[in-house]
């Protein structure tokens, strides 16, 4: 069953591009990644799903119901964490959480305490006095306190330290095992790779591809940067699977996809001073997608 169905969703506003003809589905029980660079249209898509903004054309269904028409009904089961967290500054943390809970017709006090414990959130502080990271933690607790069936997260990890990120991911995985579906938007590929079953990649307002993480990993490109002692022959690293090869004096750059052993052997046979093997960043992945389309 699809928890989210997005059909040809388009939103244009004023000068900014918005999103064009977006379609994808999120199945029940999966953790679905939604990745793209800043300004690609991730937030616009999410804000349309939440009926904060209205689509120019197309529609989206959540739990099988139109997300605009049945918005109040649908939102009972949605937990949302915005990318930038803003709350009523003069309220205390616990008061805000109680206020948030008052919208759902169940007692959430126990769950609030549990989540605050996990996320190490001080309930007695004033919101105004919270640091960015602590506000984010409050946002997480606020988004999860009513045990929603669909969790929508818009760049949730910004501002969290690695330890908290870890705890937060564990929390999400637990919720997911309990049956919650998660839509996870991010511009950081590695966290999406860690957590998600499938991803949609968005660029400049349009979906580039929807793929399983496992497929993406098969396509996994590595970025090589090698510093050698002696200048190399240009063709030395021109192996199958190598692209964007650049040789400049003692420095070699290239992207590689395929069996790593071959390349590593080649490296071992040369006299190197340093080597960097990195995950390519999103831009490079996108470049790969564009190259493929051409």
């Amino acid at each position: 069953m699809n928890v989210i169905e997005i059909n040809h969703l388009t939103k244009t506003y004023g000068k900014s591009r918005g999103i064009t003809d977006i379609s994808f589905n999120v199945e029940e029980g999966e953790i679905f990644g939604f990745i793209g660079p800043n300004g690609a249209g991730k937030s616009t898509t999410i804000r349309t799903l939440l009926s904060l903004i209205y689509p120019t054309s197309g529609n989206a269904k959540i739990f099988g119901k139109d997300c605009i028409e049945f918005a109040p009904d649908i939102k009972k089961e949605i937990g949302y964490l915005p990318s930038e967290v803003f709350y009523y500054d003069n309220m205390k943390v616990f008061d805000l959480l109680k206020y948030s809970a008052s919208f759902y017709k169940k007692d959430c006090t126990k769950r609030i305490k549990e989540l605050a414990e996990i996320m190490d959130l001080d309930l007695t502080k004033k919101i105004d006095d919270l640091s960015l990271g602590n506000k984010k933690k409050l946002g997480i607790v606020q988004g999860l306190l009513h045990e929603p069936k669909l969790i929508i997260l818009d760049e949730p990890t910004s501002g969290l330290d690695p330890l908290m990120q870890q705890k937060f991911f564990e929390l999400l995985e637990t919720e997911n095992q309990k049956g919650a579906t998660v839509l996870f938007s991010s511009h950081i590929l590695s966290e999406v790779q860690r957590l998600c079953n499938r991803v949609a990649i968005i660029k400049e307002g349009a979906i580039v591809t929807v793929e399983k993480i496992s497929t993406l990993q098969e396509n996994n490109y590595k970025k090589f940067k090698i510093h050698t002692k002696t200048a190399l022959d240009k063709g030395y690293f021109d192996l199958p699977g190598v692209s964007q090869l650049e040789v400049k004096d003692h420095l070699v750059h290239f992207l590689f996809r395929g069996n790593l052993n071959g390349v590593l052997q080649k490296i071992a046979e040369t006299d190197i001073t340093n080597v960097w093997i990195e995950e390519p960043d999103l831009e490079e992945i996108f470049m790969h997608y564009y190259v493929k389309e051409d």
Partner: protein, 263 residues
């Protein structure tokens, strides 16, 4: 009701300050009356000697400034200005602040409709302006009563406060409608108060120039003037109906436009 109580709480401090302000306004205004009447001069005579334009700006008209109620009538225009500024800003802010403070991503993803949120907010604004009105009524009765020397003032004051309430409602709905229509949430309150000051200046211009008299329908400050409302004049039915129609239209605009709004 949770949104209503949240709004009541968040406006509590501001309402207390406005109430103290309006109390001081009545107290200091009537204090001047006490000073002037004690000096033995006939204020009515003094004012009558002033140029007509100055009289118009002070909003005197045919008010008898020798009596406490007449002096209060002159003061009324400033109370009105204060009450309507409060109402317009409250109306504009209560609607636009979620967007302005970016808390809309909290409130508008809750399982309630936008209609429900607007209704709760309008209700909270309404209760706020009622409290403001009652505080002004109480302060006026208390302070004017002190200087009235047995003159019966309660009826006239209550009538002016009724007029003030209609204008408060009107400017509150101007505020909410502005906030719902205006694209930039930050500009809503200043736009609403801008409209208010413009209509206020227009009302003075009408006083100064008889040829503008037909414009009195477009400035609410000419709807219920103290000199007409007091001394048994009451509220002009035409303007009551006009105000009611405007309020209904503006509230409808608030709902319709806010419902379509991209937050």
């Amino acid at each position: 009701m949770n949104i209503f109580w949240r709004e009541m709480k968040s406006y509590r401090k501001s309402l207390i300050f406005w109430s103290i302000g309006v109390f001081l306004m009545v107290a200091s205004g009537m204090g001047k009356y006490a000073g002037l009447s004690a000096s033995g001069q006939s204020m009515g005579q003094m004012m009558a000697d002033m140029p007509k334009s100055l009289q118009a700006i002070l909003g005197i008209g045919n008010l008898d400034l020798n009596t406490a109620s007449g002096y209060y009538g002159m003061l009324f225009v400033y109370l009105l200005l204060m009450a309507t500024i409060h109402a317009a800003m409250l109306g504009a802010n209560i609607i636009s602040k979620e967007e302005r403070d970016k808390t809309s991503e909290f409130l508008f993803v809750k399982p309630v409709s936008r209609h429900h949120i607007i209704t709760s907010k309008l209700l909270a604004a309404l209760v706020n302006i009622i409290i403001f009105n009652l505080v002004t009524l109480w302060a006026s009765l208390l302070i004017v009563g002190k200087y009235s020397k047995g003159e019966s003032v309660a009826g006239d004051i209550t009538m002016t406060m009724l007029a003030m309430f209609i204008l408060q409602l009107l400017f509150m709905s101007i505020g909410t409608a502005t906030a719902a229509v205006q694209k930039k949430s930050k500009a809503a309150a200043s736009l609403a108060t801008g409209i208010l000051l413009l209509t206020f200046v227009l009302s003075i211009a009408i006083d100064l120039n008889d040829r503008l008299a037909s414009l009195k329908y477009i400035t609410p400050f000419k709807y219920f003037e103290a000199k007409n409302v007091m001394y048994g004049g009451g509220l002009d039915v035409v303007f009551v109906l006009l105000s009611a129609a405007l309020i209904v239209v503006l509230v409808a605009v608030t709902y319709v436009f806010f419902n379509k709004r991209d937050l």
